[in-house]
Amino acid sequence: MKATNITPQETNDLLKMAKSCRHYSLCKDDILGCGVCPSGLEKQYVSFYPEGRMDLYAALCEKHIPVTEKCLEIVDSCNLCGKCDYPCYFTQQLRPAKVMKALKEYVSNYLKEGGKIVKTPDDELLLELKKIVGDYWATNDPAIAIAYHHDMCPHVEFKMPQYIVMPQTKEEIAAVIKLLNLRKIPFIVRGNGASSHGLTFTEGVVLDLHRMKTIEFDEKNWSVKIGAGVTAFEIQTEAQKRGFRVVTAEPSATVCANIMTTGLISTFATAYGIAGNIFINAEFVTKDGEIFDLNEIGAPNLFSYDYKLEEAKPYAICVSVSLKLFPLTADEDAVIIPFESLPEAIDFAKECAVRRIGLAISILGQEFMSSFMTPTKNLSKEARDVFIDKLGMKYMTLIIGDTYDLKCVREMGKPVIDQKLFKTLLLGLPSLNSSGCFELLEGLSSDEPFSFLNIEQVNDLTEMALSPSSSQIVQDMDEDLQPFFKKLFERPEMTSLVWLNTFRIISSRFCREKPFVGFVSYLPIDAPLIEEMQNEIKKITDKHRIKSELGFITPFDFGKRCVWEYDLYFDPLDADELTRIQQATEEAGALINKYCEKTGTIRQLRYIVNRGYCRMENLLYI
């Protein structure tokens, strides 16, 4: 049956784009201040957001699911406003609005050609689920379920859930769990509906906690209690309005789930810590459907931690967390210090952490000065060529702090990219390669090529050389989107190192070039150990022809420990590369396990998942 007027080549391109969605839910938060898909906001299920519609389009094209009632509702609710293009293009250089349009055309043509609408009748379990959460918030329609059935993880077996349930309260969750236990139906929980690391798949029921959006500030007690569906961007925005900071991760990550799975990895861990350091209390529903909070006398002791080299089973569902509020100061600023070698960067970051200099410290890998900083893939290549290849800025240490912190950093005598220069470089990116100065810098003598940063008037010189402007930075972007992005880049926060890193806006570009498998561990901030591990992993990835790089390193706990991420990149649409990444991942995992056993001080994230509400000291030192 011909279901579209689009040419086969166009369909192929659109299908490729639909399958390229990274499932990071950045279309669900208003990270650029341009508004969010109205139908998603109203209907809440992932399939009503652009992310879900990408999955739906791919599933229909490939005949994995039929055209259903919900499918029609999803298609009808999209008004093709195009808002989805902005964040998706900004972070991944994708144009989902084209897929939204193609989806509409596909269903329209299907109906014109007499295609039948498949109904999925309510069975007994669904009726009971609906009784608990309300009629609209439980479904077995595959057009809804499809958005919960896979992610970019290359080494798990994806499963299509039979039911999707969206409870709004802890009592509803408890009731759903009790019902599912009684019926012996497997279930998993998702904070924002999304999945990124292959952890949350079931053939049974998915509990999507996206509707649990409560935010209650208790400023007298420096805390804010948030529901399980509240994302990092939402709570950080509200906290900052009130003059506070909370510790959060990527903008669309739900905070409750993030703590649960990782202990919450943030560059601000340097000042605020991880796991038990960042919250005051949390509420849970146990796997038996019982509700408790951590501060109750007699509550299960989630603070303790017995680290083992095995994946921990989920103990309970976190339904709310009371986060600590941290004060902001008006003079917060940031600098980037480039390094040619990793040990130098690690030693510098460690020294800062030991001396308690800075609120947030992060050694950033090469993605930062390429993908993160640039709005397009072309510019990413140019930035890599200039910053990394020509200027030798192989590692960047980002430090956010107040006036006193940054004064100390300056006195440490390293070449520095300050806020002003960062803005110049960012908005002048398209002129980088044509400006011959950077090429000349390669020839500088005994110092690193980037020692030119020590020139007193480096800001003015760079500004004159690059002529930075919002008009210039958008030159390489799609023409029809340029007016929007020109205005966007005129906003001060879009070039502010503090804002961009507090909200993790530019790091949302991770995986734009390719998705990755990240090996994340908490470990001693020990340059030889980290370098040795990286070199050993690199040998494995080179063998399998897989690109791999440092993601980041953030010191914390007075410079005694750090969180380290090393990333293995792959193309999810390349079957051969998928096989190779699987092999590389397996071998690299085994290698890190050996280092864990050898040192006794490395805590791999894969074995922490589901245990992140522990006491930091228990996790790291016991």
Binding site: G436, C437, L444, S445, E456, L461, M464, A465
Partner: protein, 389 residues
Amino acid sequence: MANRKDKYIVLTGATGFLGAFLLAGLLDRGYQVIALGRSSTMKLAERLSNLVTWLNIGPRQRLLPIEVDFTKKHFGLDDKAYSQLCANTGKIIHCASDTRFAERNRKQVMESNISNLASILEFAEDSQAEHFYYISTAYAVGVCEGICLETPVSLENNKFTNVYEESKAQAEDIITKGCNKIAMPLSILRPSIVYGHSKTGRALKFNALYYGVKSLSYIKDIFVKDIVEHGGTKSIKWGFNINNDGTLYLPLTVYLPENGAVNLISVDYFVEATIRIMEQGDAGIYNITCDNPPNILTISDYIEKFLGIRGIKTICKPFDNPPNPAEELFGRFFEIYRPYLSDKRIFDRSHTKSVVNDLSTPPLTYDIFDRCMSYAVACDWGKIANFPK
């Protein structure tokens, strides 16, 4: 085995600046040349073919490229290929060199200029070559004053301006001992700073003299852009402006340790002298340098005229006032070449003159300077698409 007269000159570094022009000169004189070179992303044969086309030189059948690995015994060639190479070898000219000055490149420079000598000297012995020619540098003599004789360098208590000089001095020592051991005639040729062809302006690499011009050209562009496109808000505060005659007033004071000269020779002089020494000279050391080198004032006049700028001056004491941005930036760019801009050393050329008495480097007139720099600009400093890489 081939007859002596049929034998090849084996040349290393044929894809480098001096090596390429030397290759052209040798082929032009009817010599047959084996070019030994590293394998790279582009095959040696292809690189040489591009080079030969670009240099517009004669019959290519007299050029035989052989890809080798200097770090390996017998250059990594199999026994048959190595034996054949040895059998066909007449003279050896070792011209390959890593010419980077920066200390951070020490490891690579030392590997390239020192470690690789073992296989090359072994090859000289195995091939029983007629003569070994080593292209060194006049600056292998290190930091010294007065007359620099055409005599072996002293490694003891000698100071060097950079790792390149140091590596060349060590290499001279190693090669001298190596050749003595096998009783092989050795000539060490020490050119000073080489610029392009005096008649055609052609060059293959744009460092040294070119680097200063290139740096100032980019600095000029920065300020002109500011003045023309942005009203010069930043330039004006440092006194930079565009004069009525269209030149840029760029007040740029260059600090030099002392008044001196810049010992420059043209690449055509280097080639001619080298071939003559090869054809007529005996073993020993030859300074291929300039008898009357220009001083920095002459050079800076040329640069001002060529770039359309005014305001360059030199001082022999450190700045009293903080440098302006152009001075600071140029100072950074040119730091590695600063010691060569006020050279008071006199390079003795007695031995060289005994062979090439009628030959000397042409004086660096503005016409030659303009020709060479115009060529560099036309090539976009080596960045144009068909420029040999």
